[in-house]
């Protein structure tokens, strides 16, 4: 496997540059108010601020609420909650099908009045019904819609808390308004630990090798150049400017009161704040900044602390049950240790996830709700829930198999990949081929051939084209393992006859040419591909091959690598791994 070096983490610099000057921190709110977009109640603190919630423009993130004069813990909690309210993504703008918790519809939907601080308690109670009708003007039965949404919520948020956490949640439920005082060691108090990651490695290289003029021409989206909201965040993610995206998550989280230096300080959580954390930590992982992720994950413990459950906030999320932690975040948390040379810990965490998934599936099959309670589910809902949890279980098993592979425990890895087939039968061909490749890596060519034959038997004629290419690729790999580069090359070419744009076949054919002593041809082929179709071919793996061959070809490889750098500069975001250019 190729070794990846995580770039060293940027030391924390505290300067979070704000664009439009700082708005004063949030006002307070009483705990009776439910979650998003809450109308302000009576006990507002003297400072007012305008919260522009209409349309797409959101206010720039506030400074830390430490600026707010607030005496008690309660008030501080209130502050945090208000801030989290303002940044939430409104369903109108959301691209997701499953909309925000149904409570928001009961309160007063998102088509909003700009300055809500004017509303008193009395007025707000009449409003919800008006707004409710406004929102649901198109549908017949608002309650049915609300109920079905709550079904979706329930099955996605279901989780089995540990015994201790369960006790705390029960005690919260039995007291009406204020959460029981839980020791702070059982609370989740996260905060940013890294700031200002935005360093563009490509631009740095350009400065060194192509000069300042060229470097100035580099245009990438930065955290400042997009809307300071989830929409902007998605733009940065999809354009592969993940470092900028990380910075933006930092800003958005700061508005939630969980900014730099806030770790260890009491706060409260919402669905949205946790999603932001998830995106931040996921991006760290994609950038291979594993230590950063580990440090910022730390305050979350094992994601089972009471304040990460909806039941902990009975006034904010009344009646809602389950975990606010996205399942994908749990998965990320479980997988992380393997990238930090602690694969056994990753396996332990993944096994724990697997156990809970199996318990939930068991509950469902017995006719109970996911968390074991005696709620009757309709047939449709039960099936949907079973489907969801089975696919989650399959995903956990993929993680386990990948981890075992990383640990080089090939036997267990193969067994685990094999057992995924029952959960994802449509991936049978890919899984069996993958297992075959594992055996090729070990050197057991015979066993690999057996698996590839299995694949071939399972692929009928007239099946999808991808099956045929898969069979051919497998055959090519076997030829490779038998040192028959000529046949391997010919077989990759056969794939290209069926699928001319297949980047893997093109890359692999070029690699074979090198082993056959045909360097110039190989170079020509790869270079041509990179020029014609940079979207597919400006990829780490291809560029590693290309630069390796440049170095083999002549002493003037630096010039050619610089040309590659220019091509990269035009298209790739700030997350591009520049090591493959070998210009360092």
């Amino acid at each position: 496997m190729d070794a990846r070096e995580a770039p060293s983490q940027r030391p924390d610099t505290l300067d979070i540059t704000m664009e439009d000057g700082s708005n004063a921190a949030s006002a307070g709110d009483s705990l009776e108010a439910p979650s998003n977009l809450v109308p302000f109640k009576d006990n507002i603190l003297p400072q007012e601020e305008s919260i522009d919630l209409g349309g797409a423009e959101f206010a720039t993130p506030h400074e830390d609420s430490s600026a707010t004069p607030s005496e008690s813990l309660m008030d501080r909690l209130n502050d945090q909650m208000m801030e989290s309210v303002m940044i939430s993504d409104s369903p109108n703008n959301s691209e997701e099908e499953d909309v925000a918790p149904m409570d928001s519809f009961l309160d007063g939907g998102e088509d909003l009045k700009p300055a809500r601080e004017d509303e008193g308690k009395e007025g707000s109670q009449e409003q919800p019904f008006n707004q409710l009708q406004a929102v649901f003007s198109g549908t017949d039965d608002p309650f049915a819609t609300a109920l079905s949404l709550s079904e979706v919520d329930r099955r996605h948020d279901a989780w089995l808390p540990s015994e201790e956490t369960r006790k705390v949640l029960i005690s919260v439920a039995t007291q009406q308004y204020s959460p029981a005082y839980v020791e702070s060691s059982r609370l989740t108090m996260p905060g940013l630990k890294f700031d200002n990651l935005q360093v563009d490695a490509v631009k740095d290289l350009m400065l060194r090798f192509l000069g300042e003029q060229a470097a100035m021409k580099r245009q990438v989206l930065t955290a400042n150049s997009v809307e300071q909201s989830v929409i902007g965040l998605k733009q940065l993610v999809s354009s592969k400017n993940w470092r900028a995206a990380v910075d933006l998550t930092g800003r958005l989280l700061t508005a939630h009161g969980q900014g730099y230096g806030k770790a260890g300080q009491p706060t409260s959580h919402t669905t949205d704040s946790l999603q932001l954390w998830f995106v931040r930590l996921a991006l760290f992982t994609k950038l291979n900044l594993f230590q950063n992720a580990e440090l910022e994950f730390e305050p979350f413990g094992n994601l089972d602390q009471p304040d990460l459950y909806y039941e902990y906030y009975p006034t904010v999320y009344p009646g809602k049950r389950g975990s606010m932690v996205p399942f994908s975040m749990r998965l990320l948390h479980a997988e992380l240790p393997q990238y930090l040379a602690k694969p056994q810990e990753a396996l332990d965490r993944l096994h724990h996830l697997e156990t809970i998934c199996l318990a939930i599936l068991d509950n469902l099959e017995k006719g109970l709700a996911e968390d074991g309670s005696m709620v009757t589910l309709t047939q449709e809902n039960r099936q949907a829930s079973l489907k969801l949890w089975r696919s989650r279980l399959g995903r956990v098993m993929y993680s386990m198999a990948n981890c075992l592979l990383l640990m080089k425990d090939y036997i267990l890895a193969v067994e685990t990949y094999h057992s995924i087939i029952q959960y994802e039968p449509q991936q049978r061909v890919q899984l069996l081929s993958g297992i075959g490749r594992i055996f090729l890596q070990i050197g057991d060519v015979k066993m690999a051939e057996r698996y590839f034959q299995d694949v071939e038997k399972g692929c009928q004629k007239g099946g999808p084209v991808t099956n045929t290419t898969c069979v051919l690729m497998n055959r090519a790999f076997v030829y490779l393992s038998q040192n028959n580069y000529t046949e391997a090359h010919a077989t990759f070419l056969e794939v290209l006859k069926i699928d001319p744009k297949n980047p893997v076949a093109n890359n692999n054919a070029a690699v074979c040419l090198l082993y056959l002593g045909r360097l110039k041809e190989s170079l020509g082929q790869l270079e041509g591909l990179v020029q014609q179709d940079p979207t597919s071919y400006l990829h780490e793996s291809v560029l590693f091959n290309l630069t390796t061959m440049y170095e083999l070809e002549s002493s003037r490889s630096t010039q050619k690598k610089q040309a590659l750098l220019e091509a990269v500069a035009c298209r790739e975001g700030d997350s591009f791994n520049t090591q493959c250019l070998k210009l360092a």
Binding site: M1, D2, E96, E97, H156, V230, K234, V237, S238, D272, L276, F278, A282, K286, P326, R395, Y398, S399, N402, L406, Y410, I411, Y417, Q427, Q430, L431, G434, L440, I442, G443, D444, V445, M473, F477, L480, S481, N483, N508, V511, L514, Y515, L516, G517, L519, K520, T535, S536, Y537, H539, E540, S541, V542, N545, T548, E551, L552, E553, S554, S555, R556
Partner: protein
């Protein structure tokens, strides 16, 4: 990877790259569900990535081949493959280029180039390519010497050499142990069991394709490393078909001396050659290695001058009932012996017959059969002891105790015994 810069004054540049097998690119899957904030963004990113497996993007091991990024390790028995490229870096046409590649070890110098003829001309920006292969047969320092000679367009003859040094390491640690079987009572010959312990001392897993013992002319080999099931036997190692770094495996072989050598087997003294171990293994993407050990030697167990073995003895006998045994006495010395047999009773073993009788002369290498009768007075597993053989020529007595064991049972069910 050994790529050195060419000297500035030369028109041609020589580059060398070791061609180990390519590796498969791995991905780090990061996924989320539709309801999460990124929605299907992460999924889209993974689908657009050309190195993921389409339809199973969470599968870590992809299909993209990546060229080797460094020289890596090379082990005895593996094949050293290398790409040698001579590139015309100049703007003039170069003529009569001769590229030679030699491998220099501590003991010898081998020519590796495929072709020994000169290339007539090389235009600017063109190159001459060669891929050389060599099965490494020595440990230690190896030097690849590449020599390039050429003529410039002005007629000047130029020449340069480059040296690439690398170490060849030992991949396996082999230990052997011999076990002598107790004489199989139904056969006359002795079997020798060879246990070979093989340890992988490289840094990556090895698939043991074949480990076989090639015997010398004296022996037949039965390999005992498969469990008979179905058509092909299944290996005794089961699913664990590969050897992790620092792991050890034991292979077992049974050697039987061939019939024509059988008689001599009993009197083989000193060191004998048993055979050679032939080991073939594979690593990443079928990279092959092969080694043979030197002739394995076995020290014959010393039998002394006379060897006493049992030809026939029952397993179980009844208490106080006489039973017959047959002993075989072999003269392992160089001189003729005149033997007298004496039997001494032990607490449990009582000999029947005449003690002190002469057995007659026995020439060197010859053997005789001696039937005897015993009965036991004690129940349980009893050891037969008390035979004495005296060579009257040298007046030397050889004692034989604990020759064999027999199980003595009581045939009566009542308490009378």
């Amino acid at each position: 990877m050994d790529v050195n810069q060419a000297k500035q004054e030369h028109l041609l540049a020589l580059k060398v790259m070791r061609l180990t097998k390519p590796t498969l690119f791995t991905n780090l899957p990061v996924t989320c569900e539709e309801r999460d904030l990124p929605g299907d963004l992460f999924g889209q990113l993974m689908k657009q990535d050309p190195s993921t497996i389409k339809g199973a993007e969470s599968l870590m091991l992809g299909e993209m081949l990546t060229l080797p990024q460094n020289f890596g390790n090379i082990f005895l028995g593996e094949t050293f493959s290398s790409y040698i490229s001579v590139h015309n870096d100049s703007t003039q046409i170069v003529k009569d280029i001769l590229v030679k590649a030699d491998l220099q070890t501590s003991s010898q110098r081998l020519n590796l180039s495929a072709s020994n003829s000169a290339v007539a001309e090389l235009k600017p920006e063109c190159c001459i390519d060669d891929v050389i292969h060599h099965e490494v047969k020595e440990i230690g320092t190896h030097i690849l010497v590449c020599a390039v000679s050429y003529t410039t367009q002005f007629g000047e003859k130029l020449y340069f050499r480059k040296f690439f040094k690398f170490q060849v390491l030992k991949p396996l640690d082999v230990k052997t142990k011999f076990y002598n079987a107790e004489s199989d009572l139904s056969s006359v010959t002795d079997e020798v069991f060879l246990e070979a312990q093989i340890q992988n001392i490289t840094t990556s897993p090895m698939f043991m394709e074949k480990v076989s013992l090639e015997p010398t002319i004296m022996y037949n080999v039965t390999e005992l490393n498969t469990v008979a099931s179905g058509d092909d036997g299944e290996s005794t190692f089961g699913k664990m078909s590969y050897l992790q770094p620092m792991d050890t495996r034991q292979y077992l072989y049974c050697l039987k001396p061939k019939a024509e050598y059988a008689e001599k087997a009993g009197v083989i003294k000193g060191v004998t050659m048993i055979g050679k171990l032939d080991i073939v293994w594979r690593t990443n993407l079928g990279e092959r290695g092969r080694l043979q050990t030197s002739q394995l030697q076995r020290m014959a167990p010393g039998y002394g001058d006379i060897r006493l073995s049992l030809e026939m003895i029952p397993d179980t006998v009844n208490l106080e009932e006489p039973f017959d045994i047959v002993c075989k006495i072999t003269n392992c010395s160089e001189r003729t012996m005149d033997l007298v047999v004496e039997m001494c009773n032990t607490r449990s073993i009582h000999w029947c017959g005449i003690s002190g009788r002469q057995l007659g002369k026995l020439s060197p290498g010859a053997s005789l059969l001696l039937p005897l009768t015993i009965f036991s007075s004690v129940q349980g597993l009893q050891s037969i002891s008390g035979l004495r053989l005296t060579d009257t020529f040298l007046k030397r007595t050889y004692e034989y105790d604990d020759i064999a064991q027999v199980c003595v049972i009581c045939p009566y069910t009542s308490n009378e015994c």
